[in-house]
């Protein structure tokens, strides 16, 4: 079976929480639960006048890669709505190839 995943380009994730809201709406989770959650890493100093701050959405056990949507030919809800356009949905192979070209990326493969 071909396995799929979500690639996050965290160079450009602005931390806007759209993925969380899109996920909650799609699955009816309401508050307190989500299939994807934005984490904040930083800010801290990494050099003279250089600071590190990244937002990285992380998938949870509730992420089913929007199997129902995907079966209808749609993108997962977080991918479709991401304001910064930083989430990609594809096969692991395709995403791994993309990662070779693009630093500051991370790949999530939910169970």
């Amino acid at each position: 079976m071909t396995r799929y995943g979500l690639l996050i380009d965290y160079e450009f994730c602005t931390g806007c929480h759209t993925c969380e809201l899109a996920c909650k709406q799609e699955h009816g989770f309401g508050t307190g639960k989500t299939g994807i959650k934005v984490t904040e890493v930083g800010p801290f100093e990494v050099g003279s006048e250089k600071w590190s701050l990244d937002y990285i959405p992380v998938t949870t056990d509730l992420c089913d890669l929007c199997s129902q949507r995907v079966s209808k030919g749609k993108k997962p809800a977080c991918v479709a709505h991401c304001q910064a356009g930083v989430i990609k949905f594809a096969t692991i192979k395709e995403l791994a190839e993309y990662m070779e070209l693009k630093p500051k990326t991370v790949l999530f493969v939910p169970k």
């Binding site: 160079e11 450009f12 602005t14 931390g15 806007c16 929480h17 759209t18 969380e20 809201l21 899109a22 909650k24 709406q25 799609e26 309401g30 508050t31 307190g32 930083g42 800010p43 801290f44 100093e45 600071w51 590190s52 701050l53 937002y55 209808k72 030919g73 749609k74 993108k75 479709a80 709505h81 991401c82 304001q83 910064a84 356009g85």
Partner: protein, 746 residues
């Protein structure tokens, strides 16, 4: 993305048992944007809101607020029928009435006040961000017959000053070019990716203000744009910027003048453009000379080397775009900053070029109501009665700092009635909310039209009208200053009916027809909408039925081609035909015709004694992902993102005052105090704190004195009315003084 699944060219279809309607998200709840939506409904219930991939403006992307729309429109706290007050003001005792009774009451009160005090004794207030300004203005000017239409906002300190000044100095509005004029967006061959984007006075990825979407900048960054970020806070964008200038709040005009100085004296400006297309360069040059980087370092706290580097990077990048924001107006001498910024993009040759700052014509002007619809129908005599008209002729609305005094004192004439449409001044926008409440309580009759019961409605309303949300409304994407709030002409399409709510169009038309039938000749909302867009060659239904938006051809360098002036000649639509770097006409009004710097009215330099007692600089109002100004606090999945009002404090400053992360903190100055929860962060200067704006707590008791806890955390209690700039525009919402201490009693 496969385009087949999203029905391009259709506005409504059936899918999996749902009706899907294509519409846009403006408004209410409030927003500045017009993202494309696909709304999934069954009967009168909305189940899901998705982004519309066929809308080039938003490309299917949405922010949390549109994704939460089903929770907003079906929220149990929505106002769903008209009510009249039966107890004392603020007591929270209401009686359900019919729309007929509501209208009859309003008409009777209006006629009495018009007869006894004159129509100018009625004031119309609206908020920002809702697509209603043309409607409230029309009702005010031609329904009530008053010249007093405004936002109750000290110095009208939002986009309005920029919108008023740009027509004087350059003829039309200009915005950063992120390919938004083209349906094929970033792939359009005539567009250029800005080599540099200067982001100043706003954090666009969060605020998405004035129809400019922050993610457009992210797309430019992906394509190689370098950033210069000027912000007191080290934002996410600042972390990714080539240069971040941490400015002392309220000193922007000094920095802009120093950058002009560097660019001019180092010869980095576009000499051909300056010679041919600008007026007053020598005067500007002489003025800028007074602002050396050394001097401005002391004013702004930005090292002189960084000022020079920013000036060089912006001027030598071809093209460079400048994305500005409300930070300018929220300082007393914001007008100077605005003039200096226009000079920056002008003399560097970035005006109306690909990837620079573009003038948004040609959106056909008459597709939409003129700015402040109905104002030209006012008699000369009525116009002359506008509060602030004599003192501040550059301000076309009632000047709010003077108006609030007039409401309290009755001078020069009494104000008797307030029509408050989609604004909540006790919680947001108005400075000094206690003075604001006093002014509202001085009214004989107050009507509030809104989606939810707000602190303002609870405190002051005699009559409450329930307003339809964006999903319950047929409308045109129109705004009074259309070319500045640009987006393709679209319809807002009604999908559901909630309770007895009526749209702003319905309320204004139905009431307008009762008050002044000649001024409201349309029998239905659809007829009125057809009139509004008459010059587009389309009716409302034709426009709606085309589904996906249509774009006009857009040209760059219109000033060279004779496309900006009414007479068809090359140049700009200004008094000289050129970009006005110096405005002698301002001097007749007692206002400097060149940009200059003036210290904030309360600061370590202008009031050193006060600064002993209140040693920190207070800045306010950075936007939040989940809320639009004072709205959305009752929406669970949005409140989850921002549960509490947050004051940002540098860890060393917090330690000095014995404050830990998560402590509730009093923020106070001579004007007032409020409490917010501490977040310790190195992203802010040790000498500055930032407090959030617009806070109230829908979960707390509504009746006075609580008013949904509005007095607990509303930061505008620390901001006075009456410190507006010399033109009547702009006010120091940011850059005042304060002190902080841990809340012991909570």
């Amino acid at each position: 993305m496969s385009k087949t699944s999203t029905h391009p060219g259709e506005w409504r279809w059936e899918e999996d048992g749902f009706t899907v309607t294509r519409t846009i998200g403006w408004s209410g709840p409030g927003c500045h944007s017009q993202c494309g939506l696909l709304v999934y409904s069954k009967g009168n219930r909305v189940f899901k809101v998705e982004g519309d991939p066929e809308t080039p403006y938003s490309e299917g992307r949405l922010c949390p607020r549109c994704l939460a729309l089903p929770s907003v429109v079906h929220h149990p706290d929505r106002l769903t029928f008209p009510m009249k007050r039966i107890g004392q003001r603020g007591e929270g005792r209401w009686e359900r009435i019919t729309w007929e009774e509501a209208y009859d009451t309003i008409v009777q009160k209006t006629k009495n006040i018009q007869r006894e005090s004159g129509p100018e004794s009625i004031v119309v207030m609206m908020g920002t961000g809702r697509n209603i300004w043309h409607l409230g203005a029309k009702l005010g000017y031609t329904g009530f017959g008053t010249p007093n239409v405004c936002m109750l906002f000290s110095g009208l300190a939002c986009y309005a000053p920029r919108l008023r000044l740009m027509p004087i100095t350059q003829g039309q509005f200009a915005v950063a070019d992120c390919s938004q004029m083209f349906p094929d967006r970033f792939d359009n061959p005539s567009w250029k990716n800005p080599e540099c984007i200067l982001i100043w006075g706003n954090n666009p990825v969060v605020s998405n203000s004035d129809t400019f979407m922050g993610w457009w900048i992210v797309e430019c960054m992906k394509r190689g744009s370098k950033l210069i970020v000027i912000d007191p806070r080290r934002t996410w964008l600042a972390h990714r910027a080539k240069l971040w200038l941490q400015i002392r709040p309220g000193t922007d005009s000094a920095l802009a003048l120093a950058m002009l100085n560097v660019i001019i004296e180092e010869g980095l400006y576009d000499k051909a453009f300056v010679e041919k297309w600008t007026f007053g360069f020598n005067e500007l040059r002489e003025r800028a000379k007074q602002y050396s980087p050394e001097k401005v370092e002391k004013i702004t706290w930005i090292p002189r080397e960084k000022i020079i580097e920013a000036a060089r990077l912006y001027a030598s990048s071809k093209p460079a775009a400048l994305q500005w924001g409300v930070g300018f107006e929220q300082a007393k001498n914001g007008v100077s900053s605005i003039l200096a910024i226009q000079a920056l993009w002008g003399i560097t040759g970035n005006l109306d070029v690909p990837g620079g700052n573009i003038i948004n014509r040609p959106t056909p002007f008459h597709e939409i109501p003129e700015p402040l619809w109905g104002r030209r129908e006012l008699s000369r005599e009525a116009k002359q009665k506008r509060i602030g008209g004599k003192e501040y002729p550059l301000v076309p609305m009632a000047q709010p700092d003077l108006l609030v005094d007039t409401m309290i004192t009755g001078k020069p004439y009494p104000i008797k009635m307030a029509w408050i449409q989609s604004t909540n001044p006790i919680a947001c926008m108005a400075a000094d909310p206690r003075k604001t409440l006093k002014a509202l309580h001085a009214m004989d009759f107050v009507v509030v039209a809104d989606l939810f019961m707000t602190p303002t409605a609870m405190a002051a309303a005699d009559l409450i009208l329930p307003v339809a949300s964006v999903l319950e409304r047929d409308s045109i994407r129109a705004e009074c200053y259309e070319t500045a709030w640009w987006g393709p002409l679209r319809t807002v399409n009604k999908i559901i009916q909630v309770g007895e709510c009526k749209s702003d169009e319905e309320i204004v038309l139905e009431l307008g027809r009762r008050l002044n039938p000649q001024a409201f000749p349309w029998k239905t909302v659809e007829e009125m909408l057809d009139f509004i867009i008459r010059d587009s060659g389309k009716t409302f239904k034709e426009l709606r039925d085309q589904g996906t938006p249509r774009y006009y051809s857009f040209e760059y360098r219109k000033f060279e081609k004779g496309l900006l002036r009414a007479d068809g000649k090359p140049g700009f639509e200004t008094e000289t035909g050129k970009l006005m770097l110096y405005n002698p006409s301002f001097e007749k009004l007692g206002v400097d015709g060149l940009p200059y710097y003036e210290e904030p009215p309360e600061s370590p330099f202008s009031t050193p004694d006060l600064a002993q007692e209140y040693p920190l600089i207070l800045t306010t109002g950075a936007r939040l992902w989940g809320f639009f100004s004072s709205e959305h606090r009752q929406i669970p999945e949005l409140r989850e993102i921002h549960p509490d009002p947050i004051v940002e404090i540098h860890p060393q400053t917090a330690e000095k005052y014995g404050i830990s992360e998560g402590d509730w903190v009093w923020i106070e100055n001579i004007h007032g105090k409020c409490m917010q929860k501490a977040r310790l962060t190195s992203t802010i200067d040790k000498r500055v704190v930032h407090a959030q704006h617009g806070w109230w707590f829908p979960e707390k008791p509504g009746p006075a004195p609580s008013l949904f806890g509005v007095w607990e955390s509303n930061i505008n209690q620390l901001v006075p009315f009456g410190q507006q700039g010399p033109t009547g525009w702009c006010a120091p919402y940011r850059g005042g003084l304060c002190r902080i201490r841990k809340v012991q009693e909570k």
